[in-house]
Amino acid sequence: MTDSRDVAVDAITLAVVGGALDSSIREMTITMRRAAMSPVLAIGNDFSNAIFDGQARLVMQGQDQPVHVGALIFACKEVARYFGDDLSPGDVIYHNDPRTGGSHLQDMTLYKPVFIGGELAFWTVNRSHMNETGGPVAGGYNPMAEEIWAEGLRISPVKLYQAGRPRQDVIDLLATNFRTRRQFRGDLGAQLAACTLAERRLVMLVDHYGQETVQACLDALLARAETLMRGEILQMPDGDYHGHAVVEDDGHGSGDLEITCDVTVRGGDLDIRLNAPPAVRRYVNSYAANSMSAAYLGVLTFVDPTLPHNEGLYGPVHVDLGARGSLINAIEPAPCGLSTNTPLEHIADAVRAALAEAWPLRAGAAWAHACVNSLAGTDPRYGEPYAYYLHASGWGGGGAFWGSDGEPCIGSIGAAGAAMIGDIEMIEQAAPIHVHRYELITNSGGAGRWRGGLGCVFEFGIEDHDATMSQFGDGMKYPAAGVLGAETQFDGERVFKKWILRGPDGEPEPVPLHWAGEVKAGERVLVHCAGGGGVGPPSERDVDAVVADVRGGHISVDRAKAEYAVVLDRDSLEPDRAATESLRARVAASPGPV
């Protein structure tokens, strides 16, 4: 119609197209949650959705697993480059290889190129953690693997559908390689359903507005994200900042592996330089795309959560992963089975520690690492094999942010609270185990003006069969680091501790960080999960918040005094305000741990 409406179209159509992309992504997430078969997807939500434009630029990412999305930016471009012109409407591509943008082999990605009017207009993409990789160890976490080939099937980009027709031979080849092939087919179907749904939405969007207008909107959304990100970076003072984090061990005596991060802020640009020792022989190495995800995730925790989540955000963020062949910039044949936890969490921690110096008002402490047990055996109820990844055995407390405490039992920073433990009653239905305790550990949250989230005690037994248990992750030696003066002398105890209770009297046998072995009928496993780190000096925590913590069992009366300098009556749990005031005055006069 009239020209007057066309003027308005830009800003408004932009808002509408952005909204439509957002709701398409949400619909993909809904589809995955509903249709996925394996618990790691259906309960753990361990998947991510993304929409790319025709040039393989990320234009919208979902509120799913932050760990995946940075890597997808590289993966989609690799896949597009690999096929070049050899793409047609109705193609479906599958891929997991870390060398070309995969995370670890468990994360398998489905890509659907979307053609409109004969032109490649979009890619709809889903990355999901499948519960099998076809390697020597069920589930893909193989602590003995010395090469990536020993971790499972590597899938370079391959077409599962050619012009709308399934390549059954290829699909069957994949399924044949996986122990749980029935679940694989179900989960693959969910991935395809999610990507196909988004394709339909995008076609409708272009039908409504025309490809040119939509593409103009995508360009504008990318540009806006970049502008907004620069605006955020401009709020950090120019300068150089430093952070570091330590991987405890690769399970074979590598010892501490330190990752350092040097950040330079210059105007609206952010340089992130990461360095790490050479790759090790076991599965804690990370290929480039996964490490980029970690660095981006670290940055995302500092910026306004309402920014449009597309590739434009990373325009002003320049990441240098250091020398090729390192722990965080691995090359063949380095194994990387654990890389989406260790060292991804540590890379993010190092970046966040550096940024905390640059922007204290947005600072966040480290989260407890993932330090997980999984069980496998034959379920005596059905006489069938089972494998169960026990989130509850390895999900510790979240880190505090400036202004808010961390959440309990929320899991690793890589999931950022997107994965659930699930109800004990459902766990006992799903796996042949019996849970004896699931309760908070007093004093387990890192002390701070804002307190880290608490860890839990999780104790379970296997009553009627023998099972194999594996243990992998990090966080048994070093606690989740606090920031901005949150350290206290008690931090050392806020780590993961695990025992198998064996024998007639249940003598505790410590479980090492990386381990696989047997748990026999009648034995129990006792887990103490780590807490998250705190933010700011604990002696600055609001006195009433400390009192509430004591009443809630989060902090003991003794620790309220020793760490937070708050004095309470042991029986009434009423604060002694005068004593507290004078204690806090003394603490303020003598810097250092309380």
């Binding site: 003027v7 509408v16 259906a42 179900g186 806006r224 808010s404 109800d423 009653e425 839990c456």
Partner: protein, 703 residues
């Protein structure tokens, strides 16, 4: 209402208004009344309303039923005004309420807030006992220790007791003993037991729902007592029923025992009446669209029934974010709430992108055009500038609006920075808020596995009729129904609900491993409970029983309600059930996974009495008023120049709703003003008034 005639009364107590409606049992006569709610003492408002109806000739002695809906329970939770609760749970699991879902509802928001547990840790006590998933008693209940726990809680002056033990949904023996121990220790304290309140697997939801029930029980008990006494004093001798959050009705006794069932009973009635209006207009599948000052609510209605949310929550920390509230556990009518209303504020983000809502100017200071101090442009101001709202017909003309004020603030805050004319800025705001609502509704429909394109929209609320055409166009809907009496829709909806009770119990099992004796006994028990309660409520015949089971393919987390074959179940009917599930799953998700094993989780039996809406099948609009013909012919021609988003500058006919009679037709572009709102009928659309007084508008196919 004629003397001596029997009738029923619906009473809906909302946050601002108390609506009352009386409907003769012949379905012909209606009397409605609207009074201000009296917060803190809702009975006073109800009494005032009934007093006004009595003055108009209503004789409460002739009432044959009173049906009540209230947001009292929800508000008590939001405002944390409930009782001091003591929760008794299995040893080792007292922190279930604190851990919650171990889920952050917005992964990138550092300031995220989760609700505090309703029961503080010090009041959550453990008893030594444990029953395994299969019902094996791993540790017998230590009754001596249990007594010590109960006495210590009572000594601390708790006002209500909740009991929730692991796996009690199917193995309640320890909960039953505990309940009797509490009763022995205290004669009258309210007790909420999880296998009675919510016999469903998943301990967090069940503990949360049980604690909620205990939390509101004393308040609800006192209030309903007062209401019953008050009605009796007015001469009312009929039973009092309460509307449940899932759209059924229950007796006072049941409501007192399970007040959690009343959680959102007012809004549920609104959705029921939208279903009813859809039925009158001949549409089985409709979307209700109720847009008020602060939020818009929508509900999907399938086969004349509002869809039910089986995992609802209350008191959200973040109104629009799922996962930020307290799980209720009992099913509720599935209402989508969107932060978009007449008072929603329009603003530009740091890079100049237009945002509308969820911030709202509310009723105070309200939109700028109210001249009550509002300094920010709202959706109502935008509609004012567009000419869609007339300055002198707002609230039936009782409140004069100021178009200048609207234009001024819109120009300064939106139009100038964007380089637009005021009407263009107004159109942009109108469009963005309309799109927000349509997108939210579409995503919600996707969550429910519903394709909305064959649905009709039923639009009401102060701002609903203004935006309905845009929402319908964006969703691809062709019919919009604008009900009469839109102001008291919830109260009339109360009268449309059948007496209905649902009983549920979890018995999780793989389909192949189901024990037929167990499941048949379970279904028989649920059925006799439903029948018993219906009979005690006065329904002896015409009882409909619906049996369903929540099923999934083994390993999935989300279940699909699957209709059960006639009991008793046999091996043949279990095989049939697998086929029924495959088909149900396919119709929901578009694919069938027949080769995969399936599991059952929660079994449900719903018993309902005769559909109360048969009273509504006769048109209540006086037949004598049937006239027909073009509305334009029947009233003096008035027109107004407006800027209609999506259509540009255009001249609209302006019609008063009172001028419309049955069979009147209205062609777009028109504005129909009815005192509380303005209905926008776009060009090429055409409407007709149906025999019940609803205006049914068909949008042009090209839209």
């Amino acid at each position: 209402m004629k003397r001596g005639e029997r009738f029923r009364v619906g009473i809906d107590v909302g946050g601002t208004f108390t609506d009352l409606a009386a409907l003769g049992n012949d379905g012909q006569e209606v009397m409605v009344e609207k009074v201000l709610t009296t917060p803190g003492h809702p009975w006073l408002g109800i009494r005032a309303g009934l007093g006004r109806m009595a003055a108009r000739g209503l004789d409460m002695e002739q009432a044959s039923g009173v049906i009540h809906g209230t947001t009292l329970v929800t508000n008590a939770v939001i405002e944390r005004r409930g009782a001091r609760v003591g929760l008794i749970c299995t040893k080792g699991f007292r922190d279930v309420l604190y851990f919650g879902r171990e889920f952050r509802y917005d992964v990138y928001d550092p300031d995220l807030v989760l609700p505090d547990p309703l029961v503080p840790r010090a009041s959550r006590r453990e008893v030594d006992e444990r029953i395994a998933a299969d019902g094996t008693v791993v540790r017998p209940l230590d009754t001596t220790q249990a007594r010590v726990v109960i006495r210590s809680l009572l000594a601390e002056d708790v006002e209500s007791i909740a009991i929730c033990l692991l796996h009690s949904y199917h193995h309640p023996q320890h909960e039953i003993v505990l309940k009797s121990l509490v009763r022995e220790e205290h004669r009258s304290i309210p007790i909420s037991v999880s296998h009675e309140v919510l016999p469903q697997v998943r301990e967090y939801e069940r503990a949360s729902g049980t604690a909620l029930n205990a939390y509101v029980q004393p308040i609800v008990h006192e209030y309903l007592q007062q209401l019953e006494d008050g009605l009796r004093a007015l001469g009312c001798r009929c039973p009092l029923y309460l509307m449940t959050s899932s759209g059924g009705t229950i007796t006072v006794d049941t409501a007192v025992a399970f007040p959690i069932q009343l959680m959102e009973s007012g809004p549920a009635a609104g959705a029921l009446v939208a279903a009813l209006i859809g039925r009158q207009a001949g549409h089985a599948s409709v979307v209700s669209f109720d847009m008020g000052g602060t939020t818009a609510k929508s509900c999907v209605i399938q086969s004349h029934r509002p869809l039910i949310n089986k995992a609802p929550e209350v008191a959200r920390q973040h109104r629009m974010k799922k996962g930020s509230g307290i799980p209720v556990g009992v099913p509720m009518v599935d209402l989508l709430e969107i932060g978009a209303g007449g008072g929603s504020i329009a603003e530009l983000d740091p890079v100049g992108l237009l945002r509308v809502g969820p911030r709202s100017a509310g009723a105070e200071p309200g939109p700028a055009c109210y001249r009550l101090g509002g300094q920010e442009p709202t959706v109502t101001d935008a509609n004012m500038v567009l000419g869609l709202i007339s300055p002198d017909s707002f609230l039936g003309g009782s409140m004069q609006l100021d178009p200048e004020a609207a234009c001024l603030v819109l120009t300064e805050k939106i139009a100038q920075p964007m380089g637009l004319k005021p009407v263009e800025a107004g159109a942009a705001i109108h469009r963005v808020v309309t799109d927000n609502m349509a997108e939210a509704t579409r995503v919600h429909a996707a969550e429910l596995n519903v394709d909305l394109r064959s649905y009709s929209l039923v639009a009401y609320g102060g701002a609903g009729p203004l935006h309905a055409y845009g929402v319908a166009e964006r969703l691809g809907l062709s019919t919009v129904v604008f009900p009469r009496n839109a102001g008291v829709l919830s109260a009339t909806g109360l009268l449309a609900a059948p007496l209905a009770f649902e009983f549920v119990r979890s018995y999780p099992a793989e389909l192949d491993a189901i024990d037929l004796a167990t499941v048949n006994a379970l279904l028989g028990d649920l059925e006799s409970k439903a029948r018993g309660l219906l009979q005690r409520s006065g329904v002896s015949e015409d009882i409909t029983l619906e049996r369903t089971v929540d099923m999934c393919y083994s390993g999935q987390r989300y279940e699909v309600a699957t209709p059960l074959p006639e009991p008793p179940l046999t091996h043949d009917s279990i095989r049939a059930l697998k086929l029924i599930f495959d088909v149900t799953y396919e119709s929901a998700y578009g694919r069938r996974l027949a080769q995969l094993p399936a599991s059952c989780l929660t079994w449900r039996v719903r018993g309902s009495g005769p559909a109360a809406d048969r009273w509504w099948r006769t048109p209540h609009e006086s037949a004598a008023r049937t006239g027909g013909g073009s509305a334009a012919e029947q009233s003096p021609q008035r027109t107004r120049q407006v800027f209609l988003p999506g259509h540009g500058p255009i001249e609209c006919r302006v019609i008063a709703r009172e001028a419309l009679t049955v069979a009147s037709d209205v062609r777009g572009p028109s504005l129909v003003e009815d005192g509380s709102s303005t209905i926008v009928i776009p060009p090429r659309a055409a409407g007709v008034v149906d025999p019940w007084g609803n205006l049914v508008v068909e949008l042009a196919a090209s839209c």
